[in-house]
């Protein structure tokens, strides 16, 4: 039995021609064309480059291309520069006939005998084979404990603490100042006393007037005066009582 066939396969296949990418055209083309247009051509107008003609004497010589021997150098000892000047000769006459009596041999011997022996460098060994290391930087020897200022607060910290404290104080002062400026005015004790005394004095004056009034209030005028005085006294009494009752008084501004 043949494969399954489908009628849609009869439809002519649409030929899909892959369109070629466009031919490459250099972007410098217009420039080239422009240059082509100009009649002057650099190489043609300038002629060949002017160069010195090579000399006929420098022809190629025999064996010149073979590797030659290195150039000769005078012999030198490697320690030539470190060498001390040679010992004076036996026959050499000292300068101006000066001569020292110093016995260098004994002098040197004495110097060495009396010299304080050098302390050996401290080392430690960490393996069986005896690998040596310096003890000093290893941390095994107590270095810092030996220091004179060991255990003290370093001066820079102290200085810093002081600075901090000072700054804090300054800040607090500034804040309180600021608060004070914004706050209500506080009536001081003296002012309070003086106000109180003034009020009492006023009251006594009013009271004196009151006592000096006639007993019978028969006219409207008298009545009005009496009422006014009573009003004033009452007001003063109320003020005095308020001020006496409160120790601290703020004045709203």
């Amino acid at each position: 039995m043949p494969e399954k066939e489908y009628i849609t396969n009869l439809l002519p296949k649409e030929e899909t021609t892959q369109s070629k990418p466009l031919r490459y055209i250099s972007k410098h083309r217009p420039q080239v064309a422009e240059e082509e247009k100009q009649s002057k051509r650099p190489a043609k107008t300038m002629g060949p480059a002017k160069m010195p003609v090579p000399s006929t004497k420098n022809y190629l010589k025999k064996h010149s291309k073979e590797p030659g021997l290195p150039e000769k150098k005078p012999f030198k000892y490697p320690d030539d520069e470190r060498k001390r000047p040679p010992i004076p000769c036996k026959k050499d006459v000292p300068l101006m006939g000066l001569k020292s009596n110093k016995n260098f041999v004994t002098e040197n011997a004495l110097e060495n005998v009396t010299a304080i022996p050098r302390k050996p460098t401290k080392i430690y060994c960490d393996t069986r084979k005896g690998d040596k290391h310096l003890l000093q930087p290893s941390g095994l020897e107590p270095n810092y404990v030996q220091k004179t200022n060991y255990g003290e607060v370093p001066p820079y910290l102290k200085k810093r603490e002081e600075e901090m404290k000072k700054a804090q104080e300054q800040y607090d002062a500034y804040i309180s100042e600021h608060v004070k400026q914004g706050a209500m005015k506080h009536l001081s004790e003296e002012e309070r006393e003086s106000i109180l005394a003034g009020l009492k004095k006023n009251w006594e004056a009013v009271h004196h007037d009151y006592q000096g009034m006639s007993v019978v209030t028969d006219t409207i005028m008298k009545k009005n005066i009496k009422e006014r005085l009573e009003m004033m006294m009452k007001q003063l009494e109320r003020d005095i009582e308020i001020i006496e009752r409160h120790k601290t008084i703020y004045i709203a501004n």
Partner: protein, 634 residues
């Protein structure tokens, strides 16, 4: 009457026609402008551009066109027709430039046999058919007859062909059964005077005449298969040949070609041979150039001087030949007889299938070219269907067989022998393509099953009968299966339409009408069906109870053979013997578009799956491609 009325409606736009009536002698002519070919199909004459394939239709005849000619200058076309016994057949002279009717001549009875236009476009020569037997000369510019005369002696048979001389308007030759005449025209006395050509001992039936350029000789092709060369002056036979290897089934068409100074004859024979023969000095000896085509060569026509020529065969194939290389190319092909059915593969508007006598063809819609042809000799395919996935084509044949084909190779997949004893007339696939419902000429509706089996170590396809349902008394003309596969509807010429239950294989409903039902279609919502038949009515039926809802008069004359409904169910299309394609509104039941263009009865019509075009097929073998007039909403 209906034709006159149909002009009032908006017309469907005809996009193209596939088809060609190759059976008439010289029915395919290359126009002298070398750009167009002229041929006829059914009632219409078609002028087609060779390169662009653009077609112009010249319609004016009332029946089949029988003969065609083009004047030498190309100014005029003339076409003659056949008509029923007792009526007079028209000759129409067309103005080629404007493509309209120049004049209409009506004189010949029943059939116009042959036409020719004189070299200076002055006169038209026409020959009547068997029932007429006269030759008439017409003045084209004056649009009148000049004179007429009996075309042949009483003892002779039909005159088949006539030809004007090349140098004179007043000299022509006619030839036919045992009769070959040269005619002189006497314009003054309005007479034509014949001179019999003396053929001596030879008795020949002349089928075609070709005249030499200087009118010294003319050549006649005969049914015997030889060519006669006659001297014009003396009216005597000069040469007859070829003596050996005569053309079998006769020389049907003949053309003279001058190549390189010497004359050659291009011969088209009845057995399909196109050959070049040498001139009379060698007694028409055959050359190597010979090509055998299918069918008989009915027309040969040179393009220009003759570097190319066109060949038309009676199997409706058009070929283009290159004269020098003698190679041919199939240019155009069509059904040569009635197209019985057309279908679209589901959802593929680019392809459609048609069937007719001996053939099933698959067409490519955009190019109008044939993609596949399945041929069964001597049988007629009445109906066909394709599986929903497009994997099988099943066809109903008049030899009582159902044949299934592979759709690509066209090879046979299975064949059900003796499916119906009076020929299978209708067929339909169920949606899974495993079952086929077929109807036969005896009136039975049968359900077949196709399955794959395994025998002799091979996969084979087995077919078997599932059920046979015997209710119809007449030929089952169409079967349509409902999309649900549970029901199908069959219509019959006994005046019944039955809705079958395909699960119980019983009749669900039967509809009676006093008509020979020709077609049915199911509305897409499956609630209603449409039927129509010879009573010219389109009937709407309810599926559930089988009651008729509505009946519309579909045509004023002639039965309605074709129905198809659009996928949205809003419109349907009818076509019938009145040659008109009508588009209807389904709900309103009124005609909204009319398509005029068919030159014969419409057999089937289909709307493309994408609702972009309509294809209708006719009894004359034409396949017409119409634009769908309503833009689909999607």
């Amino acid at each position: 009457m209906s034709e006159r009325k149909s002009h009032e409606f908006p017309q469907l736009k005809l996009e193209s026609i596939i088809g060609f009536n190759g059976r008439s002698p010289s029915g395919l002519i290359v126009h002298p402008d070398r750009e167009h070919i002229v041929y006829h199909l059914g009632y219409v004459v078609i002028v087609e551009n060779i390169n662009t394939q653009e077609q112009t239709l010249l319609s004016g005849h009332h029946n089949d066109v029988s003969c065609l000619t083009v004047s030498k200058s190309g100014r005029y076309l003339a076409s003659g027709q056949i008509i029923y016994m007792g009526f007079k057949a028209d000759i129409i002279v067309w103005n080629y430039e404007t493509k309209d009717i120049h004049c209409r001549f009506t004189l010949h009875k029943v059939k116009v046999q042959a036409l020719d236009i004189s070299p200076n476009d002055k006169y038209l020569l026409s020959l009547g058919g068997q029932d007429d037997g006269s030759v008439v000369l017409w003045n084209i510019s004056a649009k009148e007859a000049i004179c007429g005369s009996p075309a042949q002696a009483v003892t002779a048979g039909v005159t088949l062909c006539g030809k004007f001389a090349n140098t004179s308007d007043l000299l022509f030759m006619t030839g036919g059964e045992y009769c070959l005449r040269i005619w002189d025209v006497d314009l003054k006395n309005r007479k034509v005077r014949p001179t019999e050509v003396n053929l001596g001992p030879y008795k020949r039936i002349v089928q075609c005449i070709a005249v030499e350029e200087d009118d010294s000789y003319f050549y006649c092709g005969t049914t015997t298969g030889d060519i006669l060369c006659v001297t014009m002056k003396t009216s005597t036979l000069n040469v007859i040949g070829p003596q050996k290897k005569m053309f079998s089934r006769g020389v049907q068409s003949l053309i003279l070609v001058k190549t390189g100074g010497h004359l050659e004859l291009l011969v088209g024979a009845g057995d399909g041979t196109v050959a070049i023969v040498k001139d009379k000095s060698t007694k028409f000896q055959r050359t190597k150039n010979s090509h055998k085509l299918k069918g008989s060569i009915m027309s040969l026509s040179l393009r220009g001087a003759g570097h190319q020529f066109f060949v038309g065969t009676d199997t409706s194939n058009m070929y283009r030949f290159n004269y020098m290389e003698f190679t041919c190319k199939l240019l155009n092909t069509g059904h040569s007889s009635a197209v019985n059915d057309i279908i679209f593969p589901a959802g593929v508007p680019k392809l459609f299938l048609t069937c007719g006598a001996e053939q099933i063809r698959v067409w490519h819609t955009p190019s109008q070219k044939e993609l596949l042809r399945i041929v069964v000799n001597n049988m007629t395919c009445n109906a066909l269907d394709i599986a929903k996935d497009g994997s099988v084509i099943v066809s109903a044949w008049n030899d009582g067989r159902i044949r299934g084909y592979y759709p690509e190779s066209g090879k046979i997949m299975y064949q059900i022998e003796n499916a119906h004893n009076r020929g299978v007339t209708s067929i339909a696939f169920m949606s899974d393509a495993k079952r086929i419902v077929s109807g036969g000429g005896e009136g039975q509706v049968r359900v077949w099953e196709v399955s794959t089996g395994y025998t002799h170590k091979k996969d084979v396809i087995k077919t078997g009968l599932v059920e046979s349902m015997k209710e119809h008394k007449g030929c089952v003309t169409q079967i349509k299966v409902f999309p649900t596969d549970q029901h199908c509807v069959s219509v019959s010429t006994d005046g019944t339409c039955i809705i079958w239950n395909l699960e119980k294989f019983q009749r669900d409903a039967v509809l009676f009408a006093n008509t020979l039902f020709q077609c049915a279609c199911i509305h897409p919502d499956c609630c209603q069906i449409l039927t129509s038949g010879t009573d010219r009515n389109v009937a709407y039926w309810e599926v559930v109870d089988g009651l008729q809802i509505r009946s519309l008069e579909g045509a004023k004359s002639g039965s309605i053979n074709a129905l198809d409904i659009s996928a949205d169910g809003k419109y349907f299309i009818t076509g019938g013997d009145d040659h008109l394609l009508k588009m209807w509104n389904y709900d309103e039941g009124n005609v909204i578009f009319v398509g005029i263009g068919h030159g014969g009865s419409i057999k089937r019509v289909k709307i493309s799956p994408d609702q972009k075009f309509i294809i209708s097929v006719g009894e004359d073998g034409a396949i017409l491609h119409w634009a769908y007039p309503i833009k689909s909403e999607s």
